[in-house]
Point group: C2
Chain length 413, copies 2
């Protein structure tokens, strides 16, 4: 190198003076985050979005009494006493089809052919199913009877005007979008999706899509983080590699974003610019967390942005994202803070050890119903997270788990 | 109506002559479906897609021995015997940074300052962490020793050239996309997403976004189906209402699509054109299934398309999609045929009854850990699926379940 490092840099190389607990880091983080403001979008595009306000209906659904069967709209009293042995003749005077109602009134002794979903004509109060009718040219012979209201869907049986159909905070399902359409919703207020700027630093990095070459490796954190952000409902802004210079990193961190994810250069080494920049231009209350992997993670604010300093090692980057950044993005977007991972409980195939005072996140496989911790623990081995079926946590107050211990597994799939 | 219906239409109105069992319908369906052909897409966009072929690496990752710590690249023999009480001086001759390796060779008695991830220089075989070093202007004093290979990540420790890194059929996770980038993958072969044409029929329907008016209701099945198709990895083609005329429906069913979903007009009523069209121009081996709701569902083929005739009643439409169409779309896209719903097991709050010979799908709520079947059973009540937390199946050989029975719940969220 050109010159030996300064003593101050050496102090900074010696590591974190104090590590925040995971719980304290989450407490701080949850104080910074809450659902963003709302925006209006077409209801037909709203599946997977979060309702910013409850939705009430201004209309009854259906807005008219409708037939629940294919058959004949009747005056119920006209069918009284009808049976296979006492077939009563009633005159067919018209037809009511879905969207094409019968315009007249059903009088005594009259019926109107009706299809499922079609409006019940005036004068009729029940539907005689086609199965209990013999049809002639201009009349029917009833082979059964019905009571008033039978096979009729009443006005508002699905939704009554004034009903709250979906509550604030609802992560909208496909059928919710159907209900919104049915009550005449054109646009709906949803929580804005957090905009997330990904800032990947490292002079050794080539952009994704390149072949690794010599001392240069290909950025894997950028595309991985972009996929994670999309999974958690965020909008990815201009992901890409930023030159490892303070002014370029600061400029990127000041993008119009709600969240900034800085990957690499986030620790306390001499080339780690991002922490100093956040301290100088914002606040960095958390830098270094008592966990493994991902202990160099940092969290702070830069104007109204939440900034996460994610370790460059890809496993640490993934775990730090999952513990902190993903939670913030989900919360800002109005979603549950919880992990999107399915959970299962199974016995450990062998013992695991952990350091007291530090939360451990272990990649594991599920083999024949048992939880098998992966032997490869290095946080630089990204394939350990692709070979893993999920992960197990060892809380900071435990030294580990004995073989056979029932542990909760968070599943990556 | 203008004229009484013809006898033939009356026969057709009288219902299905025979209902296929759900199992037989699934057997037929699974014979029609398998992963579609592959297409090449940028690896960075591949999260959530399914690999069409296994991916092997052409390179080692890393392609060079790298430091796992911040510290000094050393010849391990030079550190032997070093301790806090026997500090050994070694000369600093350079620096190796990530992407900026040291160009020379580390000779006896020499060290090179090195950062995590930087290439280990020639001549060095270990890294002495900065924590066990005292640094002066041009030399270090070792306060510990290391053995050869210590704190060095070997060539190929993450991926070795020739390794299969991801198997065929893999639903790609965010970290998988990271690994693909790390091995220099620009484009990747994934299973093509099924193209799904949604054909909504019904003269009573107004397009989503309208207010319901008079005898006209708003299409809820179209937007619901579009959201379901997207959830299951399909591409939605031109959803919208098609005039309830045979030629318009046939034209829409003949779209360039892998799957056609026809909503409404799928039963055996006189205005149900779609079944006759599929029979005339393709095959309709299944029409009517022994289940509730959704018994009028039909399945067939039209040239190479799989056509689903989904009931117009929205609950029936949702359940028929979930049982059959969604399964086909997931399978065509290379995904697991299984439902994407989380599952839980809990006791029934009260008894449920079912008809032997028919599979029953009950919407339920989970209340205080108990499964509470919704009282509203009508398949026209879409809000029953938004009030429900999920559903429970009663197999065709059971008459129901007693109160307290432990049942599996498929959760909508």
């Amino acid at each position: 190198m050109s010159e030996p490092s300064k003593p101050q840099a050496d102090v900074r190389m010696r590591g974190f003076s104090r590590r925040t607990t995971v719980d304290d880091a989450l407490t701080w983080l949850d104080q910074q985050t809450g659902p963003l403001a709302d925006e209006s979008i077409p209801a037909v595009d709203a599946a997977g979005r979060v309702l910013a306000a409850s939705v009430s209906s201004r209309v009854d659904v259906p807005g008219f009494a409708r037939s629940m069967m294919d058959g004949f709209a009747v005056r119920a009293t006209d069918t009284m006493g009808g049976s296979a042995y006492n077939r009563l003749p009633l005159a067919i005077v018209g037809e009511s089809m879905p969207g094409r109602p019968f315009g007249g009134t059903v009088g005594p002794g009259q019926v109107v052919r009706i299809m499922t979903g079609a409006p019940l004509p005036d004068g009729a109060d029940a539907v005689l199913p086609v199965e209990v009718v013999e049809i002639e040219e201009t009349r029917i012979l009833t082979q059964g009877d019905v009571s008033p209201g039978k096979h009729v869907g009443r006005v508002g049986e699905d939704v009554s005007a004034g009903d709250v159909v979906l509550p604030q905070g609802r992560l909208l399902r496909p059928q919710d979008v159907g209900v919104l359409a049915s009550i005449g919703t054109a646009d709906v207020a949803v929580v804005r999706r957090p905009r997330v700027r990904i800032v990947v630093t490292g002079n050794e990095l080539l952009p994704a899509g390149s072949m690794p070459e010599g001392a240069r490796i290909v950025d894997s954190n950028g595309p991985m983080l972009a996929a994670l952000v999309k999974r958690d409902g965020g909008v990815v802004l201009n992901p890409g590699i930023v030159p490892d210079r303070p002014e370029a990193i600061l400029d990127a961190m000041r993008s119009e974003a709600d969240v900034v994810l800085v990957s690499g250069g986030s620790s306390v080494g001499q080339e780690d610019h991002a922490p100093a920049l956040v301290i100088e231009h914002g606040e960095l209350p958390i830098h270094g967390v008592a966990m493994r992997p991902s202990s160099p993670v940092g969290m702070g604010t830069l104007q109204r942005r939440i900034v996460f300093l994610l370790p460059g090692n890809p496993v640490s980057c993934l775990v730090a994202y999952d513990f902190f950044a993903g939670r913030a993005i989900r919360t800002l977007g109005g979603r549950s803070a919880d992990w999107p991972y399915r959970r299962t409980v199974a016995p450990l195939a062998r013992k695991v050890t952990s350091t007291v005072g530090r939360l451990e996140c272990l990649r594991v496989r599920l083999t024949e119903g048992r939880v098998d911790p992966l032997a490869i623990g290095g946080s630089s081995i990204l394939t350990s997270t692709t070979r893993a079926d999920g992960f197990v946590l060892v809380p900071p107050d435990l030294e580990g788990y004995p073989p056979g211990a029932e542990v909760e597994v968070f599943l990556y799939d």
